[in-house]
Symmetry: C2
Subunit: 345 residues, 2 copies
């Protein structure tokens, strides 16, 4: 890699997350010598604007990674499975935002605020966790360090942007149709590739990603497994119920946390206040708490509704909100890239 900057590929450059990655690379003034936006053959030839200049999207093929230093992948698991090894073979470090490598023992799964040091173990690929996991572990980190965590029970309120542009469009189209008293069509949610699709507008759907044999969904099991891996602590119990709500952008989570030792609630607030990447918005008596419309387009994790649980002596409840396209995806990936280049210095 060069001291004048890095050649950075963004795979999935036309996607909701890919676009935020490029925006965020520019915003954070990441030292980009050359931006290489990559996408499917269908999108090749289209242009993106980066630092005020047009850059042509190229087709994501193995040779497109020649000379790439850092490749940010966010084009689906199958694209990562096929092309990430090609990028690594050409000398790139891959930061992968899909589920393809997250649980691979050779691949660090990194949220810089929690386990930045794991980056050093990479063998070419570093995985970006699932959006719903990232915001939760950022909020849990200061509690884990101070008290230890026995277990977590989380119910999510996830926006449709996690399912891409098409899902955002579908929610808008359905909302318009219903408000005009017209018939709706449903083709994307809850899971594009499955056979049944349901109304998302003015509805909630208790399924994100495919079913697993144990009755949980893959999204729910991602939260379980990734949390253990990121904290490098398989003793943490996690139970998740993942639900899609008719919100464009921003995931919310109702989080019950059982700690290993007793705690003082003021100290918990203080710890969260001081935690990197966390903003506490917690004053229910003044109607202050995080909401997804306020968190949209902001890179932090917002925590509110902090309160003692009266059914267990070592438990508390939190309300955690973050922009799933930023900290849940693009921001975290760029932060990994920043940590990576700072390690090299």
């Amino acid at each position: 890699m060069s001291s004048q900057g890095y050649t950075v590929a963004v795979v999935g450059a036309t996607g909701a997350v890919g676009q935020q990655m490029m925006r965020y690379l520019a915003k954070r003034e990441f030292p980009v010598k050359e931006l290489r936006p990559l996408a499917s053959a269908r999108s090749a030839g289209q242009k993106v604007i980066f630092h005020g200049e047009e850059v042509v999207i190229q087709e994501a093929v193995p040779t497109a990674f020649d000379g790439v230093d850092i490749a940010l992948f966010s084009a689906g698991g199958s694209v990562s499975e096929k092309l990430a090894p090609e990028a690594v073979a050409r000398g790139a470090v891959v930061i992968d935002n899909t589920n393809a490598y997250r649980m691979n023992p050779d691949v660090p799964l990194v949220v810089p605020e929690v386990n930045r040091e794991a980056i050093r173990q990479h063998k070419g690929i570093i995985a970006n966790p699932n959006c719903s996991t990232i915001q939760m572990v950022v909020a849990l980190k200061p509690l884990y360090d101070r008290y230890g965590i026995e277990r977590v029970i989380v119910s999510t309120y996830q926006s449709v942007s996690g399912a891409g542009w098409q899902a955002i469009d579908e929610l808008q189209q359905q909302s318009k149709a219903l408000l005009n008293g017209e018939e709706i069509s449903a083709n994307i949610l809850p899971v594009g590739k499955l056979s049944k699709h349901y109304q998302m507008a003015f509805n909630v759907i208790p399924q994100i990603d495919v079913a697993q044999e144990n009755g949980f969904t893959l999204e729910e099991m991602k939260m379980v497994r990734e949390t253990k891996k990121i904290f490098n602590d398989s003793s943490i119990g996690v139970t998740a119920t993942c639900v899609r709500v008719p919100v464009m952008r921003g995931h919310s989570e109702s989080v019950y946390v059982e700690l290993k030792s007793e705690f003082d609630l003021d100290e918990v607030r203080q710890l969260l206040n001081n935690a990197p990447g966390v903003i506490v918005e917690d004053a229910i008596e003044e109607q202050v708490y995080p909401m997804p419309v306020d968190a949209a387009d902001r890179p932090e994790v917002f925590v509110g509704r902090i309160r003692r649980d009266f059914t267990h002596p070592r438990a508390l409840n939190l309300w955690v909100v973050s922009d799933n396209l930023l900290k849940g995806a693009a921001t975290n990936a760029i932060q990994i890239a920043e940590a990576l280049i700072s390690e090299e210095k």
Copy 2:
């Protein structure tokens, strides 16, 4: 009361719940000799249709209860506080859908599927529990009877209709405005009488009703206190996080239940299947689970996503959905009235 039928007053006849009460009285063929719709002076003179005939709304004043056998109240706590004693003094039995009397030790708090026998203790007033409590206790009842319940942790996804017609209208107006790229106004949610109002369209708001000193909201504490009272068991621990979502009608709940003894998951499904008022919709592998748009205008409580909790040996998770205007309010009130008259026979 007469064998030819009962004189039934509906207080709050223009409201979202009051209208469902009248509709449901007709649908269930409740033996109504005379329907007396009552409302504020502003609405007096308007007409409602009952069994195909127009009935004029009268002003809800004390003398309007002369000759009334059963008075269904759903016009806000202050109206109930003022007029329920007047109705009782005139010989009516009041079934009150507000928060005014729910925790009063002289007032039974009744969900017929759970504690029908409590009706016998009434001294003129019977309280209808809060919508979010009703659907949860109906689902918990067979588990309580078979295994005992140690504690419950619930996160809700509540529709705006719980806040009345104005909240439904506000959600529709805001949704239209946002889809047209226009400015929105917010005047109702989360709590009409509080000073701050927030966007509901394409957002979630982690506040329902006013804040309490312990950091929970009143809605959350209603779920805690009412559950204990309905089961007549103060040992049940309940923790609630109540959240408003941009859904017109139907509340959803992610419910974690810790039982007192070990359980078999197939038996749990069987118990729920056989429970009165419960419909099990539980096959995640076939994308079968309850959703609010499917539950709307149906009187049952729908339960799905039934699965063992892997973080505790005696815990399971449920997804519980019901129409907050029906089982959460009108249906339950009419069921209480039905139980009441059947006790008298």
